[in-house]
């Protein structure tokens, strides 16, 4: 299900002109820039700077292709918190080529893609949702009679940068779970010579995508990425380190079974399988669906959907983290339980926290080695 662009952004219009023509007030625009600045890790004071940069931007050429996917990523974007401006920004993706939104017919669509790529060679942004199935010569996903791989390779050839949106485009996601019957892989397995930003998650939060666009338009470059190609402004911190239930973890206050007294007090879900300690995601900060809630906020453990191979490494979902190599905190949490019984709480809890922090440190080092921003823990 796909919705129309209410106010198309004309090719030679600046964003400022486009917003004005669309009836967006200056005040709303500045407020939006403020929100985006915060999401991007700047302060709200940067709003006028973001606004000034954005206003002069001419509509970039964006081509959006959908490969092997479930439509959940597009649905997520449609639930964007800011319906007016967020959509207007995202609408830039609908104008040059989009399987989803364009109305041209089969051969005309192919022609539009070809001519847009030719006219903007080396300049356009390519957005990809979905994975690329390689088994059996690619017959499990064909578009207009061509394999997903061929479509991707051709579209990427003239791209300036690639936005790989969702876990499928990142690494294949659920169809790449063992035994991966269709041989599904992510975009980066195929495209090696272009900058790729991974806006991962199953699905990703709409604001992550919006903010990355804003960053690209404002600063003319992709944001800084971690070792797995994810922007640090969104994926730079573990859920565990931003979680409102972290105090409960540190205090050894755990949900032992769903709907127990601890669950009804909103305590830590680690023992019922929460993958927050191994998951880098903006969930606790950005939240979902107009900031209504988020998975842990609704009492369910994090399943780690922003991490590569989570369908295999994070499962069984309700087991404590032992399947995640090297983390070794299950024993620590048991120790906490025992220690609680013995009445010696504080020191052990601190130790548990230190142990889990070890993982993020090594993650950060990997990121730093790639020349990315080395965050604070």
């Amino acid at each position: 299900m796909f919705f129309p662009t209410q106010f198309p952004w004309a090719k030679d219009q600046s964003l400022g002109e486009h917003l004005e023509a669309s009836g967006v007030s200056r005040r709303d625009f500045l407020e939006f820039c403020g929100q985006m600045a915060v999401l991007l890790g700047l302060t709200e004071m940067a709003a006028p700077r973001v606004a000034a940069a954005l206003e002069g931007v001419k509509r970039p050429v964006v081509i959006w292709i959908q490969l092997q996917e479930c439509t959940g990523c597009v649905e997520s974007i449609l639930r964007s918190a800011d319906p007016s401006i967020g959509e207007l920004i995202l609408n830039i993706v609908s104008l040059d080529y989009s399987h989803t939104l364009m109305a041209a017919s089969g051969t005309a669509a192919e022609a539009a893609l070809a001519s847009s790529m030719k006219a903007n060679m080396g300049e356009y942004l390519l957005v990809v949702t979905g994975s690329v199935p390689l088994a059996e010569g690619g017959i499990y996903t064909t578009m207009g009679g061509r394999t997903a791989k061929d479509v991707l390779v051709e579209a990427a050839a003239g791209a300036k940068a690639v936005f790989a949106v969702g876990a499928c485009a990142h690494w294949g996601s659920v169809q790449a779970a063992k035994p991966n019957p269709t041989g599904a892989v992510g975009v980066a397995e195929i495209i090696k010579d272009k900058p790729i930003v991974h806006l991962t998650g199953c699905p990703p939060i709409a604001e992550t995508i919006t903010a990355t666009f804003v960053h690209y338009l404002t600063f003319g470059a992709l944001p800084e990425l971690d070792s797995d190609g994810r922007p640090l402004f969104a994926y730079g911190a573990r859920i565990h380190d931003q979680c409102p239930r972290r105090a409960n973890f540190d205090a050894g206050q755990y949900v032992e079974v769903f709907d127990d007294d601890a669950a009804r007090k909103g305590w830590c879900l680690y023992k019922v399988g929460c993958k927050g300690p191994a998951t880098f995601s903006p969930c606790p900060i950005f939240m979902w669906n107009m900031k209504t809630s988020w998975p842990i906020g609704a009492g369910h453990p994090c399943i780690g959907c922003t991490e590569r191979n989570f369908w295999d490494t994070m499962t069984p979902f309700y087991n404590r983290l032992p399947n995640v190599a090297g983390l070794g905190i299950e024993q620590t949490a048991d120790t906490i339980g025992a220690a609680l019984a013995a009445g010696a709480l504080a020191g052990v809890a601190a130790h548990a926290a230190a142990t889990t922090v070890h993982q993020i440190r090594s993650h950060r080092k990997a990121a730093a080695a790639e020349g990315a921003h080395d965050g604070q823990d």
């Binding site: 059996e136 659920v174 769903f258 709907d259 609704a298 009492g299 399943i303």
Partner: protein, 571 residues
Amino acid sequence: MAKTKVVVDPITRIEGHLRIEAQSENGMISTAWASSTQFRGIETIMQGRDPRDAWAFTQRICGVCTVVHAVASCRAVEDALGITIPPNATLIRNLVHGMQTIQDHVIHFYHLHALDWVDIISALSADPAKTSAIAKSISPWPNNSATYFAEVQNRVKTFAAGGQLGIFTNGYWGHPAYKLPPEVNLLAVAHYLEALDWQKDVIRLHTIFGGKNPHPNFLVGGMASAINLNDTATINAARLADVQAMITRAKRFVDEVYWPDVQAIAGFYKDWGAIGGGTGNYLTVGEFASVDTNDLDSLYFPRGIVMNRDLSKVYPYDHTLVKEGITSSWYEYSGGDAASLHPWEGETVPKYTGPPTPWTYLQDEKKYTWMKSPRYDGRAMEVGPLARMLVGYAAGQKDIKEIVTELLTRLDVPPAALFSTLGRVGARCMETVLVANQMQNWYGQLVARIKNGDTKTFNGDKWDPSSWPKTAQGYGYLDAARGALGHWVQIEDGKISRYQCVVPSTWNCSPRDEAGVPGPYEAALMDHHPLLRPEQPLEILRTIHSFDPCMSCGVHVLDADGHSVVEVKVQ
């Protein structure tokens, strides 16, 4: 006159990738084929997994039907392990699934289906004052002034004048099959735009109970969202108040916008009450239990079968009579192509035998799709809103009987008009009205239980795998927005040994079976079906969209493209 070969690939405004081929003669369709061209193999991926994880995997079959596979999966595992969920969990699942149904149906009508009936360009010549008068005569909905409709009209005019119609470009505007006066077209366009904002708001009910949408979280044994009125991190009074407000807004939009619009529009298309009926056999698994989904008496939409358009009798549903064949499908069975297997013996081994791509035509191929052919007692069955309304009507369900009678009376058409393309449109809207009413009922029950001190949302008796038998098998049903859904699971030593889903769009989009009997899409296109201009296959879209296809679900694939274009090859 020679036969004209028509290919519509992909069908737009659906979820996923669907190709329709047909032959037309003298303005009518003589024969049709429905082909789904993607495969993923989720059932294979399920093997060896923890059954408590199954809901999350199967949920990713589709990001549109983001609730239904998850709940059907939980029910299958709960059935296998003998878990009864607490009444509060049943009520919360009803609320979550109910809102999914409402949101899905409204979006389907306005954003996926309406453009088959509503001519956007014609709205430009409407008199906003007359539109306002019509709006006021059919509904108390407040956005009904002439100024408001003039504003909407101006917006569309700006579009058209700029030469940038967005997704409206290349529609079949001006096609003689469009019958609405400009004023009604303008009314529908206004509501098309209003529904865009409405859907984002009401779906937040999923976020409150499941943490996010798409893909909210579920739990075998109940729901994970604990209730405590006196805590900030749980389902508390503030979150319940938000839920109540969303239910109110959802119901109001359905009662005051969707329901009057469908009646107004249907009045101009009564001829479609005799077109596109198809198989005439209808199957429901039933939905919205007040206590227990296996207690048939507690299902709000009854479970049952109507055969041969005979509304005087409802047959009981017996799942052992469900079998899937692959005669026309790109799979192989160990027992050969003619075999037909119950889901507990189901096999999903893909074997592509189609022509090398790109295809010109598939209609001469013996096998032409990734869809299997599910059959009930050997018969092709239609599932979905129309099946639910017909089975409910035949079974004497009071609310269904009343609303069906109301619609038939208002439109002044006989019950036989239900077996049609228009019948599907009307049925979808009628059940949305009914579900929107039930939302308040379920919410009231939930609040009353909490008031009486019952906040239990989870049954953990069989949570630990050590409490499970060595082997177990079960099934879970759910009558989803698009129709009867069944998940079948077998468990050995705590792991899934076999998993099969029989999905609404597989029933409806199934190809010809071993006996050559076409599936419901195909049969509907061959049932008194016009096709005036093969190069503008508007009528095909009307009937196919009336089923609300969801191709990702149907073949458990992730779609390739499918939303963009209509390509017609005429030979």
